[in-house]
Amino acid sequence: MTVRLFYDLIALVIFALVIVFGVPALMGFDGFELNTFARYLALGIVSLALALSWGGAGLLNLGQAATFGMGSYAMAMHLKLKASGGTLPDFMGWNNVPELPLIWVPFHSLGVTLLAGLLVPAFVGGLIATFMFRARIAGVFVAIISLAFLVAFQLVVIEQQGITGGQNGLTGLAPLTLFGWSVDTYSVGFYYLVAGCLMLAITLGLYLTHSKFGLILRAIREDADRTRFFGYDVASYQTVIFCISAALAGWSGMLYTLVLQFASPTYMSVSFSLAIVIWCAVGGRDSVIAAAIGAILVNLLEGRLSDVFAEGWSLMLGVIFVLVVMFIPRGLHGLIGDLWHVLSNGSRKEGHPSNKSDMQSKPVETRQEN
């Protein structure tokens, strides 16, 4: 077992204890309080999904909100159909849609809905990834293309009012029935459902980062060309991590709809997508646990501060992001790593990964040695 894996497992255990026992105890096992926290946990999944592609493979996906929205709408469509009973969903009537559009029909089934919430985002993510990575697009262009896709996708969703509910989104949803359990989102049980999903997603993320697949992705992140000369099909590796990341975002979106009980096109907005980047950066994009914690902390802060400073909150979030990028580019995870290292032995500073360069800087200077 490597040292990295050892630390990650310890972090996982501590995190699990806090989420499973600490937080509910702090909130007095009160379902209403816990519902807010469940929202943060759901967002933790989309943040860790970004950490997998951005931190793990160097692919900054600014379209993460699009795949998040797909999952969110998939769940909302199922619950809307359930709420409408056998009749046409109300907003379709308002938009003169004569009968249920074909795309809605499969969402009568919960099983199909859950699958679609994972597979549709994965498929769409895979499609974009295939075009980008076969053409060897890299770096900032990945961010630009994925952002452009997000903007276009949100426009389409708003435009197709008869199918998607347009600007209003999908509201008036029925509660989910899971194996005969009618899910009350203000119950402790629901909190544990979301917490369980997050733990599962983190475990999956940890497995991926510690597999040889994760190692090859880190190699690709650093030098894609070199990795090709070892016989790895770089485009396929990048496409697969993009798909997995998109599926996790869809999963997160499904849970988010459950928590808030509606789906809105604002879930697919540029600002939401950038918020995911901020959570991930604050927590630390090198670690899936840290990225999830970043999402929880920033949203917790937002929950507390936006009550007090309704107008200024966005500005404060921006300032936090700028400060993080300037002073702790590897996020809280990097900061803790550095502190730990300084405390344990200050003398061997240069032997630690923490002094590696951040963001997109390649070790250009060091290459001039020869």
Binding site: S211, K212, E222, D223, F230, G231, P363
Partner: protein, 242 residues
């Protein structure tokens, strides 16, 4: 039959003919040294063989199959390994991680998904012993000295276990002792690998080369053993001018 057959290879870079009608063969298990003045097209030739650049015309056959149109990772899978002029190890990965990446006998995604990152540990450790770097196994490659970086990259090529290895100035920046050890390693490598080496250090070439191809202006100027090359009039002219 020759392992690698290069036939009438041309490549243009916007009007500049970097390689112009180059043909030569490489037989299995030999160490071929490519010599030539700066700009003769030696590195470009290696780039063409490993797929970093595509030829304008001509063919490259490796073990009987035409590879001149294949993508570089497919050529790597067929058994062509490359060491670059600038040592290119992964500076943000540790030494063992570098070697694990290089151990790419099964480069597929499924295989990678079902293995832990250092599952190749044992195979990798024996290589570390061979190059004398066991103590540095968990160091970041970015913290190695220049010589150690060169060693690591050579070790990565050994782990990759390609049947044909292309080396671009492997001894650049090495001390005399390091160069001698590299020559030793190359000799042992040639029992199971074919090597094409671009090198300026003539004493190194003298120790390792089975055969030498001298290039000038993108074409072959002379070919033969070290003695034949050293007495060749054309070669003298190309190097010294008139």
């Amino acid at each position: 039959m020759a392992q690698l057959q290069i036939n009438d290879l041309h490549v243009d870079f916007g009007g500049l003919r970097a390689v112009d009608g180059l043909s030569f063969n490489v037989t299995e298990g030999e160490i071929l040294c490519l010599l030539g003045p700066n700009g003769a097209g030696k590195s470009t030739t290696l780039d063409l063989i490993c797929g970093k650049i595509q030829p304008t015309s001509g063919s490259i056959r490796f073990e009987g199959t035409d590879i001149s149109q294949l993508l570089e990772f497919r050529r790597a899978r067929l058994g062509i390994g490359r060491k670059f002029q600038i040592p290119s190890v992964y500076k943000e990965l540790t030494v063992v991680e570098n070697l694990s990446v290089a151990r790419s006998r099964r480069p597929g995604i499924w295989h990678a998904l079902t293995r832990f990152s250092l599952s190749d540990g044992r195979a990798v450790t024996s290589i570390l012993e061979r190059i004398g770097m066991e103590a540095k196994a968990t160091d970041l490659a970015g913290n190695l000295s220049h010589g150690e970086t060169q060693w690591l990259e050579i070790a990565m090529l050994i782990v990759q276990d390609s049947s044909l290895i292309l080396m671009d100035e492997p001894t650049a920046g090495m001390t005399i002792q390091e160069t001698e050890r590299t020559a030793e390693i190359f000799r042992t490598l040639s029992s199971s690998h074919t090597l094409i080496v671009v090198e300026h250090d003539m004493s190194f070439v003298r120790t390792v080369a089975d055969r030498i191809v001298v290039m000038n202006r993108g074409a072959m100027l002379a070919e033969g053993t070290i003695e034949e090359i050293e007495t060749n009039e054309d070669v003298k002219t190309a190097y010294l001018g008139h």
